[in-house]
């Protein structure tokens, strides 16, 4: 077995995902099967090779750089427009630090 229910709960915690007990059982089985398949990667020798960190091969090193000029942002009102809860120009969340 590649992954236990306890590990599933630990990973869910890292991912900030609340799972039901049924989901934990189901994901344990699913992830186990998938992780067993992932083991196939160990059959291939890669010690001589670099990881493929980017897709564009022939781009210049500076291809992703642009002149640093300011441009207008979204603005406060639009940025907050989809917030489930906002007020006084801020996103509102449950209390973090008790007074």
């Amino acid at each position: 077995m590649k992954i236990t229910e306890e590990q599933v709960r630990y990973v869910a915690d890292l991912a900030n995902l609340k799972l039901t007990d049924d989901e934990v059982r189901k994901f344990q089985a699913d992830l186990d099967e998938i992780l067993v398949h992932f083991d196939r990667l160990n059959e291939i020798e890669t010690s001589q090779f670099d990881p493929m960190a980017q897709v564009l091969y022939e781009a210049e090193e500076t291809a992703t750089l642009r002149p640093d000029r300011d441009r207008p942002g979204l603005g406060n009102e639009l940025a907050l427009a989809n917030a489930p809860l906002a007020g006084s120009g801020y996103f509102k969340v449950p209390e973090v630090i008790k007074r």
Partner: protein, 480 residues
Amino acid sequence: MDIASLTIDQVQEGLRGRQFSAVELATAALEFARAENLKTNAYLGFSEERALDAARRVDEKLARGEDAGPLAGVPVAVKDVIVTKGVQTTCGSKLLANYIPPYDATAVERLEAAGGVIIGKTNCDEFAMGSSNENSAFGPVRNPHALDRVPGGSSGGSAAAVAQGTAVVALGSDTGGSIRQPASFCGVVGVTPTYGRVSRYGLTAFASSLDHIGPFGHNVRDAARLLNVIAGRDPLDSTSAEAPVPDYLAHMDGNVKGLKLGLPREYLKDLTSESGDLIGKAIETLKKLGCQVRDISLPTTDYAIACYYVIATAEASSNLARYDGVRYTFRSGSSESLNDMYRNTRGEGFGAECKRRIMLGTYVLSAGYYDAYYLKAQKVRGLIARDFSNAFAEVDAIAAPVSPFPAFKIGEKIDDPMTMYLSDIYTITGSLAGIPCMSVPCGKTAEGLPVGMQILAKHFDEARMFRLADAFERAGGAQN
């Protein structure tokens, strides 16, 4: 006008000949799309106001005798993972059910600037994760060719919209086959351009190193035209390429004599016999057109599924971290603390497939596993890309199947994620290498289910890929 089979050429003739106005066409397309939607669920929403505004602008330009653009008046459907300012964009997720984007994706801006008329947003697997469209929070899409079957995924709504003719062309997104596979299942043309060819600005991120926006059309010409409009450098996406965009149509002269075409032997096993027969016939057609067909090998194919699902889920777990109940519309109602709010919002908001992939991605990136999974997969990805560059030293293009089987029944595979993942084998290799690939219809099974052939080319060689696909289409390749 027969709205269901309109091509871009026919729209332009109709507008020039005053057979209809852009507003009349948009109105008819919306009405038709709404009626068809009761059967297929291809659309999640319609953008009537925006469509009629865009159509009016086209009519005004035409009335003044101005050029209204290469897509003037053309009804377009846009996958709901691509943001549209002021028009609800749900990504097929309960989490974004009420999300109204404050900006347009670059591809959307460009296609409207070219005269395109966006009629609606199409259904898809939640955050583009799936191969059947069954992972949409708003119900599956039904395949217009067989309503009890899936349209493929994740861009199933866009493929179905073009197949039923409610849109002349559509935008989809492809991370591991999400344009090509639904195109093949629905009998339309679907194109995944070179990584970086089309700006990803405004495409909701799933796996950033693999995500592409690409076009669907009834034929190769229409798909190529839409790509011509949306392709090119965009300062808002630093991975978008500087390479100039050729006029793809100018290369479609039907002449593919002497073109060297590779058939990867690793791709021709495991096909259902009917799909295999149709691919075989398609190869015969290409030979008759003068292509020099030869056997090639892509030896790392067997590792592609594992490689892809490590990288894609790792990137997804990071990209989807932003849906935490703070900024994007949905928040769980019952949380005492900030942490509970995050956990409950995500637990209630994400569907099963997204959760599975977030879990997998978090696991492979977690302490102690990074080297064994993510780093290893990145190295294997380099080898898969090298397989292709070796192949393209010998051949001009590669022909392959898109999917091991044609459209399957709704519900048939949904309980078995591993089987679903394995069915992506022929499309994810091209995605990992970042090369252009497309699906072009190559016939139907005895049951009337469409099958697509995949054509792959080297980086930024879309022109040659289109030339080959167009020649195949003109030779009657879809009528096998």
